[in-house]
């Protein structure tokens, strides 16, 4: 089975080629079968390999030889099949498959149907290269590839320049992060003489902790991660990325691509473990992003924006986990989040579909009657994300809290506050959408309908996963045995040998669980009374809003801030360089020198025309002609 691993990325690539080249001729049915089938095929192979790994098969590197070798620098074309990469592959192809299926319904009326699926398959290919590649270059190849597909899909409806601006912003911000990633790779090569994981990690394992060069490498890699995984300071592209079709938001901007930063850190865990300073930075950036994302999500009225900021915040959770050295915990939350956030986005898509494109939750309300399946599955997602037992988010979130508590009580308190904010904004959205009376137009009301089976079936599958997904890693406190952590152990072994980790006592863990659950229930009650009992609907005007409310609804004014400190100065500098320096200074110097020569030649008047150009030309032409003549005879 493992030898078929090359097919995993190859199938979606073939799917892309077929749909991209044949989009004019292929029927929608064929396009759908090719697109969904190729991802399903990859999933089946990945599942086979996964079963092999569970059965005790070891990690393996499959090599097709050297991609290139330029002197000292060489890159191999090889795949690394190990628990981490296979786990990621299962998420990408598994959730990816259901989102493909859902898209068949969601995009059925779009004229760009085949184009959409070709981009989606290209994305899956790139994402698989990212996680399966056995060196940093292949990771970078996938990394750039997913960024480009994200650009294509955010700007999918390219007739509207607002979408195109969002797409460009996403790409450029990611490239800012990539400066970090790329220079990180350079420094890895200079330090270890290779960019192959096997060499780098085995050399690193023999190094002492705290070396400046390792700290620099990891900080640079982390800059790359902040771009791709939307962390402070490079997160503002993700909310704008909601301009793309909703299934894209579910696949790329929730479940898979944005977790690439976490994958990168977990893959390079030994490097990060050796850099305590970087780990501290990651932890604080993660906590700050989690808090900020949740804070902004509280006042958003666009259903997708709420979920987008929620994703920013939840990715922050994952970074906190890896920052405190709990790599498997970060992966655990990555998985449960992929389940419930993909579910919530697809549910939101179903709502938007029913509302004829409306995304403003103030204009929804009472949808549970008309959209029963969407409502129930969405409820599963809600309970999972707020982390009530026994839903999946409860286990992963609780594990993060326990690990953070070990690290710092203050940060644990901030995390609990974030959990509570999360519970509030999620219930706020949930109540405004599904409960109370309908607040949209009559026309929208007459149009309300449950989505077709091709869309609700994926919702049901994801709902089951969101409900039960937590059981893959039940802690001992709750009579489990950390199945996921054990599965990932071979990947993390070098780090585990270094990180001295004391399991919190069972009493502490029960206490933390109780606090988290109590906080969530309190926020449930608050949201219930505000949005259900009092039927509050967020006001449109800013006048009656407090400063804090505006700070949140205006997204912390961060876009404005970046405009002021980056975009405007860059435009200004560019204009000055163009108008002042290039046209006036450098060119003028050159021209004056030229004029001086011309004046000089004018005085000399060696030739009657007095034109230096002609004169010089005759000279050169004469010499060459003479030499040519000489040569011929």
């Amino acid at each position: 089975m493992i030898n078929a691993a090359w097919l995993i990325p190859l199938l979606p690539l073939v799917g892309f080629l077929i749909n991209a080249l044949g989009k004019k001729w292929l029927s929608k049915n064929i396009v759908s079968v090719v697109a969904c089938g190729s991802v399903l095929g990859s999933f089946v192979i990945a599942a086979g390999i996964f079963i092999g790994l569970l059965g005790g098969a070891g990690a393996q590197t499959l090599s097709l030889g050297e991609l290139m070798n330029a002197g000292g620098f060489s890159v191999s074309l090889s795949l690394l099949i190990d628990p981490l990469s296979v786990l990621m592959t299962l998420i990408i192809t598994g959730i990816g498959f259901f989102i493909h299926v859902y898209s068949v319904g969601y995009m059925s009326h779009d004229e760009g149907f085949a184009r959409y699926f070709s981009y989606l398959n290209l994305f899956v290919f790139s994402m698989l290269m990212l996680v399966l590649g056995a060196n940093y270059i292949l990771m970078f190849v996938g990394w750039e590839g997913v960024g480009f597909c994200s650009y294509l899909l955010i700007g999918f409806w390219f007739g509207d320049n607002a979408n195109n601006d969002a797409a460009k912003k996403a790409f450029v911000m990611n490239r800012i992060g990539d400066v970090g990633f790329l220079t990180g790779i350079f420094l890895i090569f200079i330090t270890f003489g290779s960019i192959e994981y096997a060499q780098v990690f085995s050399s690193a394992a023999a190094m002492p902790a705290g070396l400046a060069v390792i700290t620099t490498i990891t900080l640079l890699l982390f800059i790359g991660a902040t771009g791709k995984s939307a962390q402070i300071p490079l997160f503002t592209w993700l909310p704008d990325a909601m301009a793309g079709p909703t299934p894209v938001s579910a696949l790329i901007h929730a479940a898979t691509m944005v977790t690439a930063g976490i994958y990168m850190i977990v893959r390079s865990n030994i490097l990060f473990t050796l850099a305590p300073i970087t780990m501290e930075v990651i932890t604080y950036v993660g906590v700050a992003t989690a808090l900020l994302g949740a804070f902004v999500a509280i006042t958003q009225n666009d259903i997708k924006k709420v979920l987008a900021y929620s994703t920013v915040s939840q990715l922050g959770y994952m970074f906190v986990a890896v920052g405190v050295g709990a790599y498997s915990t970060g992966m655990f939350h990555l998985i449960t989040h992929a389940f419930f956030k993909a579910l919530l986005f697809l549910g939101a898509g179903s709502v938007i579909h029913a509302m004829s494109g409306e995304q403003d939750i103030r204009k929804m309300g009472g949808l549970k009657k008309d959209l029963p399946v969407t409502y129930l599955t969405f409820l599963a997602g809600v309970l999972a994300i707020v982390g009530l037992p026994p839903f999946s988010g409860f286990f992963s979130k609780d594990e993060i809290l326990a690990k953070v508590f070990e690290h710092s009580t203050v940060l644990a308190v901030v995390m609990v506050i974030t959990f509570m904010m999360t519970a509030f904004y999620i219930f706020r959205m949930f109540f405004l959408v599904f409960f109370g009376g309908f607040r949209g137009s009559e026309k929208q009301k007459s149009h309300l309908h449950e989505s077709p089976a091709v869309m609700t079936a994926p919702l049901i599958v994801l709902a089951v996963l969101a409900v039960a997904g937590g059981f893959i890693n039940v802690p001992e406190t709750l009579f489990g045995h950390h199945a996921l952590a054990n599965f990932l152990e071979p990947v993390l072994r070098p780090s585990l040998a270094i990180i001295f980790s004391e399991e919190p006592s069972h009493a502490t863990e029960y206490m933390l669980m109780a606090i988290a659950i109590a906080g969530t229930l309190v926020m449930f009650a608050v949201a219930y009374s505000r949005y259900l009992t009092k039927s509050h609907v967020p006001a449109a005007s800013e006048k009656e809003q407090s400063f804090l409310y505006r700070l949140s609804s205006r997204k912390g004014y961060i876009d404005e801030f970046y405009d002021m400190i980056i975009r405007k100065p860059l435009d200004w500098i560019s204009s000055v360089l163009n108008d002042v320096f290039d046209k006036n200074i450098f060119d003028r110097i050159v021209n004056s020198v030229g004029e001086l020569v011309v004046v000089g030649s004018g005085v000399a008047r060696l030739l009657q025309t007095g034109k230096l150009g002609f004169y010089l030309f005759i000279m050169v032409a004469g010499i060459t002609a003479m030499l040519f003549f000489n040569f011929m005879f």
């Binding site: 290139m68 990539d178 400066v179 163009n578 050169v620």
Partner: protein, 485 residues
């Protein structure tokens, strides 16, 4: 024999056109350039991958001065000959719709330029190199001044004076080196084995560098370039950006690195700082350009700046990156100017602001344009990636600070290229793009050839890297040795 055929075929075709004044000038020129490509491919197939000079031809020319007509190709030469031969059919074909006055002369001059370029890339004699270097300029001068845009005279004049001035310094450099050879010879091997002290190397270095810096052009010697690119006939713009720029980079490989290694050690940092400044400077200016050709012109200065920084970092990655990027950049330049010309033919404008929405009218055209842009912004799996990656790695190895600053090019490049793409291709259609038609089958096939090469080089870079590797290692080993000593 192959080298001589490569040199003579375009020359003979040009002479034929000049004499016959054939009405079929276009077709004859295209056939000639395609035949040339076939010969170049044959050479590539026969080429043995080692550092030796192959396909050697040597005739005595002016024996008293040690000037021989000696040509041949090592891997570096071969790649640039291949590049020239691959791009010339496009450079000829792009003007087909123009219906210029005195077409026979136009195409004859293009062919003469090709002959000269092949000469530059294959000369094994310093004087011959100089001869071809100047010989390329003559047809280009005529092409630009006779068939260019409104401001052609002033712009071409400036370009001409500037570049001739630069070459003058190079000539001085050659004469100085010649005088140092025992017995007096212009033979490349003789000139390269001249042992100069540090100070003398410095003078020779600067003499050559000024010539090459103007031609590349390296900041701040670039001011002739955007005007020249904007005013020249499209074939000449392509010729300049895709191929003549490479003459200068090639010159650094052949003359500066082997002849003046100590000076490179002394002055390399100055050159690299200038080059890196140029990358950022030109990228910023590209952001605010309003004309498609001028935007690509500044983008080109930025790319060339990176090549110049890479070649002077004197490490394997930098040199390999420069070599690979010369190919990618040449192909990318022709590709971009080709589609810009198509936009101009269909809309009558190159002003970015008056375009828009072309994707909805011409999806195939837009996709091809996007692929060309991906190559210029170094997207993995396109040819642009490997060159830029190796170059940045080379500069980073030389200096982390300069390397990091250079790496900003991946951000700025995305900013100006995607801005251009969005404004011209996405959004709503404008008055001039309303009736934009998609590519015809013929145009589609022509552009697909470039697309295929872009991905081929992106997926199998080793095919091209391995050709020049031994020759580059050869250049590098004496350099490194001297530095160690």
């Amino acid at each position: 024999m192959i080298t001589i055929s490569l040199l003579c075929l375009p020359l003979l075709a040009a002479i034929f056109l000049l004499i016959s004044r054939s009405a079929m000038a276009k077709q004859i020129a295209l056939v000639a350039t395609i035949a040339e490509l076939v010969i170049a491919v044959v050479a590539a197939v026969q080429f043995v991958q080692n550092s030796s000079v192959q396909f050697l031809a040597n005739y005595s020319w002016i024996p008293s001065l040690g000037i021989d007509f000696k040509v041949g190709m090592d891997g570096i030469s071969l790649l640039l000959v291949l590049l020239t031969a691959f791009l010339m059919p496009f450079i000829v074909h792009v003007s087909f719709k123009k219906n210029y006055d005195k077409e026979w002369a136009f195409y004859a001059l293009l062919l003469l330029a090709q002959s000269g370029l092949i000469g530059v890339f294959t000369s094994l004699n310093g004087f011959l190199f100089y001869f071809f270097w100047e010989a390329v300029l003559i047809p280009v001068y005529f092409l630009a001044i006779l068939w260019g845009g409104e401001r052609r005279v002033a712009v071409t004049f400036k370009f001409f004076i500037y570049t001739v001035l630069g070459s003058f310094f190079m000539l001085l450099g050659f004469i100085y080196l010649y005088l140092q050879t025992p017995g007096g010879s212009f033979d490349m091997a003789a000139l390269q084995s001249v042992q100069l002290d540090r100070e003398a190397q410095g003078w020779v270095f600067w003499a050559f560098f000024i010539a090459f810096a103007i031609k590349m052009p390296v900041f701040p010697f670039h001011t002739w370039q955007p005007d020249m690119y904007a005013e020249s006939p499209v074939s000449v713009t392509m010729l300049l950006s895709a191929l003549m720029v490479k003459m200068a980079v090639y010159g650094v490989f052949r003359w500066i690195l082997p002849v003046t290694p100590l000076a490179v050690e002394d002055w390399g940092n100055v050159v690299i700082i200038l080059s890196v400044t140029g990358i950022i400077y030109a990228s910023c200016i590209a952001i605010v350009q309003k004309n498609l050709r001028r935007l690509v012109a500044y983008a080109s200065i930025a790319h060339v700046g990176l090549m110049s920084a890479g070649v002077f970092s004197m490490n394997a990655e930098g040199l390999q990156g420069t070599m690979f990027q010369m190919l990618s950049h040449g192909i990318g330049a022709v590709a971009l100017f080709y589609v810009i010309e198509m936009i101009y033919e269909k809309t009558g404008t190159m002003e970015i602001a008056s375009l828009g929405g072309i994707t909805s009218k011409a999806p195939v055209f837009a996709t091809i344009f996007l692929i060309f842009i991906l190559s210029t912004i170094a997207m993995p799996l396109t040819n642009g990636f490997w060159g830029e990656f190796l170059l940045l790695l080379g500069v980073y190895k030389y200096s982390m600070v300069l390397g990091t600053i250079s790496t900003l090019t991946i951000v700025l490049g995305a900013v100006y290229m995607l801005r251009m793409y969005q404004a011209s291709m996405l959004g709503k259609t404008s008055a001039v793009t309303q009736s934009f038609t998609d590519v015809t089958l013929q145009e589609g096939i022509i552009l697909s050839v470039i697309v295929v090469v872009i991905f081929w080089m992106g997926v199998q870079p080793s095919v091209f890297i391995d050709i020049a590797k031994p020759a580059i290692e050869n250049i590098l080993s004496p350099v490194t040795q001297t530095v160690i000593n």
